[in-house]
């Protein structure tokens, strides 16, 4: 057998084969074809852990591909992935379960006046599946000589405080049984050494948070989150024709926000035409919700039952589903090196959702993820001989690309809404960019004993939801969801809140077994990490399971 040890050393290691990481790989490889670039991802295959709406602003993608792939617009994959452009852009306000008002003209007016929420205009954007987009980018990257390896879960980063540089990452140990004992097939997690490490794991990244901690990066404001639950529904020919290709709907109000009597949650519903008689229906809810018995899937059920939505999807079949968090803290929640203000430190960069580049006024982060990948790829190429300065150069290029400027227009948006509630907060958010930065509580601290008024009578069928998400883990591996102190669940949580994790986990991972809330079904986990951010006692930690576990999204 040949010596494999050199294969555990790479020049540039990118953790996470999503849009951000792959954009970085493509840009770098284009700029310098001789650089060794390896992308590792925990999912079983390309796009398997990527979920979004998605409506994509074309700018960043064009910038990436125009330079890297000649005639990309003519390729079959481009035609397949970029389903269509938005032709009919509706923003609805739903006051109750039957009525709806189209407020797109108001949004368009806001856009003309350059008000924050005017950015909600989507006309001309691409409608696409991020899982397919990612899969395509993966093929492009591989074609250019980037190594994309799937099924490897990174557990930790080796950070040398003396030099301020990271030296590599550690993969997780595999082949342990439920009790953590070594099975006959046990293999210790390898260490991969790298000159430059790009962290592009997505929202609430395990490695990102560990690095932020170890390297002393700081956020000016806490990171805040939303969770999106989404179903891909196949509808009849008539229904789809009526809805129409190129049609996107964003809805506010019912069932998560109604005036005066509440509930007063942040977020909204979406409906996107995905071609082939498919409509993507989703519900995004800010994690700062109050009711302890709230489940975003219940809101999705009510949204699907709204007269406007129902007409298009009634009788349709849910062919795929999934859930994922969105980082919504915005500009002030971007982790930075206090010394240099860099998004990262020295030879480590934070990209995309790992950094929190979501513009909440647009409810979009995909374009910034790609933009950050382009910046990272160029910065790395420019600093290969001096990797101590990569993060700073990356941050400079991000500024030049206008990512921060765009983020600033939406700064305070989510915080304003969180602080003042949607009724006052939405209008106030217009002033958000002129307000000074202010901090609010973490999402998990917002839970109260209040009840969700619009709870559907039938329990949401989470089993089918996870089945169509095609999620799977080896069932004998140690549980990757850690309840830090089980006594808190019984003594404090159960009596007060009734263990909300059991209700809100979209995969039904948590269950009460003999009066003890437990992570009873870890193999159903969708890797959304909502539990880690919404447990009212901050008592759950999401750790990474064996590689290749988790959902297998195809068109989400």
């Amino acid at each position: 057998m040949s010596n494999d040890s050199t294969l555990n050393q790479v020049s540039v290691l990118i953790v996470g084969a999503g849009p951000a990481g792959l954009s970085a790989a493509i840009t770098l490889k284009k700029a310098d074809p001789n650089v060794e670039v390896v992308v590792v991802d925990k999912a079983a295959g390309p796009g398997n852990h990527n979920l979004s709406g998605a409506v994509l602003e074309p700018g960043a993608l064009h910038k990436l591909l125009d330079s890297a792939v000649p005639d990309w617009q003519e390729s079959d994959q481009a035609k397949k992935v970029l389903v269509s452009k938005v032709e009919k852009d509706e923003v609805l306000f739903l006051p109750g379960k039957n009525l709806s008002f189209n407020i797109i003209s108001m949004i368009k007016m806001a856009a003309k006046m350059k008000l924050g929420f005017g950015q909600m205009v989507h006309h001309g954007d691409y409608i696409c599946s991020i899982a397919q987009l990612t899969s395509w980018l993966s093929d492009i990257a591989k074609g250019m000589g980037v190594e994309v390896v799937h099924g490897f879960a990174v557990e930790d980063i080796h950070y040398d405080a003396a030099t301020g540089k990271a030296t590599g990452v550690k993969l997780i140990d595999q082949g342990l049984d439920k009790h953590g004992e070594k099975q006959c097939n046990y293999v210790a997690g390898e260490t991969i050494e790298a000159d430059i490490i790009v962290i592009a794991e997505g929202c609430d990244g395990l490695l990102a948070e560990k690095f932020i901690d170890k390297a002393g990066l700081k956020r000016q404001a806490k990171q805040l989150y939303s969770v999106g639950v989404k179903e891909m529904i196949r509808v009849s020919d008539e229904q789809y024709a009526k809805f129409g290709d190129g049609h996107v709907v964003h809805a506010m109000g019912y069932p998560i926000w109604t005036p005066v009597i509440g509930p007063g949650m942040f977020g909204g519903g979406i409906m996107y035409a995905m071609g082939e008689n498919r409509i993507a229906v989703g519900m995004i809810v800010g994690l700062d919700w109050h009711p302890c018995d709230f489940n975003p899937q219940d809101a999705l059920t009510q949204f699907k039952g709204h007269a406007f939505v129902k007409q298009f999807i009634e009788g349709g079949e849910v062919i795929e589903a999934g859930a994922k968090m969105i980082p919504e803290g915005g500009f002030y929640a971007i982790p930075r090196d206090p010394a240099t203000n860099a998004v990262g430190k020295s030879n480590v960069l934070l990209l995309g959702d790992s950094a929190g580049f979501v513009n909440m006024c647009k409810i979009k982060g995909l374009h910034n993820a790609i933009e950050s990948g382009i910046a990272a790829g160029n910065a790395i190429c420019q600093t290969l001989n001096n990797t101590s300065g990569t993060a700073e150069q990356y941050t400079t290029l991000l500024t030049e690309a206008g990512v921060f400027a765009e983020m600033e227009t939406a700064k305070n948006f989510r915080q304003t809404v969180a602080k003042f509630g949607p009724l006052q907060g939405m209008p106030l958010s217009v002033l958000g960019k002129w307000l000074p930065q202010f901090d609010i509580e973490s999402d998990w601290q917002e839970l109260t004993t209040a009840r969700y008024r619009l709870k559907p009578s039938v329990k949401f069928d989470k089993d089918t939801f996870t089945a169509v998400a095609a999620t799977e883990h080896r069932e004998e591996e140690p549980c990757h969801l850690i309840i830090q102190d089980e006594t808190i669940c019984v003594e404090k949580c159960l009596s007060k809140f009734g263990a909300p994790c059991i209700t809100f986990c979209p995969a039904g991972v948590y269950e009460k077994i003999q009066d003890q809330p437990k992570a009873a079904n870890p193999s159903n986990c969708l890797h959304c990490k909502t539990c880690q951010r919404k447990c009212p006692f901050d008592n759950i930690r999401w750790t990474v399971p064996e590689g290749a576990g988790g959902p297998r999204y195809k068109t989400m």
Binding site: E190, D463, E472, A520
Partner: protein, 698 residues
């Protein structure tokens, strides 16, 4: 120093199958709609082989993976390289495509020969390890047929390997138990039934695998005998979606009524999987049909309709003899058929009408399986079917039985429908040894030339049938759920066995016919065919067969046989399953076992304990009892689910059950939508009452 050759196959990921994965017109799977993955059983075989290498402590051995498939199948070889393979070979060539199991096993065997010659230096010290079957074909035939081509012993359904005194001992599954065996000499083919410790890829190996060149051998490199469509011994006639089982979803409120349902379901005769229509339509040979133009026994509905239309046109035109039809008449017929067929097709059909002689001749046989004292129930079921087929064909129905001291069993076989019993009595046939049995059965078949031979799709039948069929050079269809005599007149095929079986994990049904063979062979699932009531007044003939066997013909040394113990018998007629609703292990065992003993006590049915995944995760039962997509798929007569919510992943695993009964406290439990009968209530209160009512039931 033993080497290893592991056979791996790329398959569509049937676990991710969706409705739109099938072409609505043809029923064919649209392969691009599903991701391609390594066959799960082969992944286990790879881990098994790797573990053997670890156990042997020998580091200088080679582990080589061999696959056959399109160029994209090199992905599964990279998968293997990333884990533990030292070298890989892909047989890929257009000429190899469209192959059945014979035309797959044959080139693979030639590939093995080439590997041994070129990479092992001709050494015979090696093992061939394969998954027990592929998840898309489910036939389990290729490894056994490969063994037969290479004249090697085959140890099927291994679950464990031990390394004792420098030799491997294998635990293998046999009907109703397990057995520890070792091969008398190497090489040997081992198929792996279940091995749950996957071998993990490493980062460095994965990178190296992605960079390495996979060696590809073409048809001319291996120069195999049977390849592609041409070398195949079977052909697929049609593919169609399986009939959807509709559940009754009836709520029961009275425990007494529930008790009655359970007893009735547990003691029901057999599952009637064949449709009534299939049973009623009793085949007649063309010469026995009242109307000589009658072609209502076509295997394809479309053909039958076309001929029906032709018959009507003949009547209208007053045609009584084919010689009356000249070119002008043909034009006329085509016109009347109104687009149903053109002249060329009509001429084919007219030629078909001339075909009246059955394509095959000889008796219809069943290969009996027994435990030394009595034939198993599958044998009697097959005999019921064979009797029916033989009557259709106007031939005799025979049974071939091999073993030691088998004479006492012959009268039961005659009573169950056999006209003739071919008894191969030999002390070396005392225990089932695939090589010795293959020789005994194949010799007898070659001597008497039956036209059909049926085997039970049991652990024994699924090894023996492929070896025998390969030896006598005829086609074999595995795991049939439907067997009927039909014609394919336009192809000149009269009175052929149309063999229908599920494929792709039960997601499609395929009808298959034998081709280029002297005999048609099939294995049939136990519990599908209907046994006849035994009639001991029936007369039959016992023919004692002499087959020369020596110790050399016995390939395996049997170390130990254990019946019933250790393994879970999911072939049981009744499975009582529990979920998390049963709260804890003690209660789980109490409730399930009391109901199990009540039902088996009352009906005598074999009863097994099952569990949902959550129940297993909570430690209520061992993993081996887990029913469902990631556990074992079962198909008993009666499945009782207590405190199980009915997640789709669980229900997929019980889809083939005859009667599903659910007990749950939650009135909205999804399981009620996929149960035949359900009762809303607490298991703790219902089960004790139910046990009483069952005992009191009539």
């Amino acid at each position: 120093m033993s080497h290893y050759i592991v056979l791996v196959k790329q398959v569509p990921d049937v676990s991710q199958i969706t409705d739109n994965a099938f072409d609505p017109e043809t029923g064919n799977l649209i392969r691009t709609r599903l991701p391609s993955v390594i066959n799960e059983h082969d992944a286990q075989a790879l881990a098994f082989a790797n573990q053997m290498r670890v156990l042997s402590g020998d580091k200088d051995t080679k582990l080589i993976c061999l696959s056959m498939g399109p160029p994209m199948a090199e992905e599964v070889l990279r998968y293997s390289l990333a884990r533990c393979a030292d070298d890989v070979v892909l047989l890929t060539d257009r000429a190899l495509g469209g192959a059945d199991t014979v035309a797959t096993a044959n080139p693979l065997a030639y590939g093995v020969r080439k590997i041994v010659a070129e990479k092992f230096g001709g050494s015979s010290d090696y093992y061939i390890i394969a998954g027990m079957q592929s998840v898309d074909g489910d036939t389990a035939q290729v490894p056994a047929q490969l063994a037969e081509e290479l004249k090697l012993p085959c140890i099927a359904y291994a679950t464990e390997a031990e390394f004792i005194n420098e030799t491997f001992r294998f635990t293998r599954i046999i009907s109703g138990g397990s057995q520890i065996v070792e091969a008398k000499k190497l090489p040997v083919v081992v198929t792996v039934a279940k091995y749950e410790f996957p071998v993990y890829p490493t980062f460095s190996r994965t990178r190296r695998a992605n960079k390495s060149q996979v060696s590809q051998w073409t048809a001319s490199d291996i120069n195999a005998e049977y390849i592609g469509v041409k070398g195949s011994k079977t052909r697929v006639i049609r593919v169609f979606p399986p009939g959807k089982t509709t559940r009754k979803c009836q709520e029961i409120t009275d425990v007494k009524e529930l008790a009655r349902i359970l007893v009735e379901a547990a003691s029901a005769e057999v599952k009637a999987q064949e449709t009534e229509a299939e049973k009623k339509k009793h085949y007649l040979l063309p010469d026995d049909r009242p109307d000589k133009f009658d072609r209502s026994f076509e295997g394809l509905e479309k053909e039958a309709q076309d001929y029906k239309l032709l018959m009507d046109i003949f009547k209208e035109m007053g045609i009584q003899d084919l010689s009356q039809i000249d070119d002008a008449k043909k034009e006329q017929i085509v016109e009347k058929a109104d687009g149903a067929y053109r002249v060329k097709a009509l001429e084919d059909m007219l030629d078909g009408l001339k075909a009246n002689t059955p394509t095959y001749s000889g008796e219809v046989w069943v290969c009996a399986e027994h435990d030394g004292t009595a034939p198993n129930s599958a044998t009697f079921e097959l005999l019921g079917k064979a009797r029916d087929l033989a009557d259709s064909l106007n031939v005799e129905c025979g049974v071939v039985i091999a073993g030691e001291n088998i004479q006492p069993m012959t009268k039961d076989l005659i009573a169950a429908g056999a006209d003739k019993v071919y008894a191969i009595e030999h002390p070396l046939l005392k225990e089932f040894d695939p090589t010795a049995y293959r020789k005994a059965i194949a010799t007898t078949i070659e001597r008497h030339k039956p036209q059909i031979v049926l085997y039970g799709a049991t652990p024994q039948g699924r090894v023996l049938a492929p070896m025998v069929s390969y030896r006598v050079q005829c086609g074999l269809t595995a795991d049939c759920t439907g067997l009927a005599i039909n014609d394919s007149s336009r192809k000149g095929q009269i009175a052929c066995l149309f063999q229908t079986r599920p494929a792709l994990g039960g997601n499609v049904m395929a009808t298959i016919c034998t081709k280029d063979s002297g005999c048609q062979m099939a294995t049939a699932r136990p519990g599908v065919m209907q046994a006849l009531t035994k009639d001991y007044s029936r007369k039959g003939q016992i023919i004692n067969e002499q087959v020369e066997l020596t110790e050399e013909d016995v390939s395996l040394r049997i170390i130990k046989t254990e019946m019933g113990t250790g393994e879970v018998n999911f072939d049981a007629e009744v499975i009582i399953s529990g979920g998390k609703g049963l709260q804890d292990r003690t209660n789980f065992e109490n409730k399930i076992k009391s109901l199990m003993s009540a039902i088996s006590g009352k009906t005598g049915a074999a009863v097994e304990l099952g569990a949902s995944r959550t129940a297993v995760e909570q430690g209520f039962a061992e993993r081996i009892h887990q029913v469902g997509q990631t556990g074992t798929a079962v198909g008993p007569k009666l499945y009782v689910a207590m405190g199980i919510s009915g997640a789709i992943q669980h229900m997929i695993g019980v889809a083939n059950t005859e009667v599903i009964v659910a007990i749950n406290t939650d009135p909205n439990a999804p399981i009620f939508k996929s149960a035949d009968y359900y009762i809303i209530g607490d298991v703790n209160q219902i089960v004790p009452k139910l046990v009483q009512e069952i005992q009191a039931a009539e």
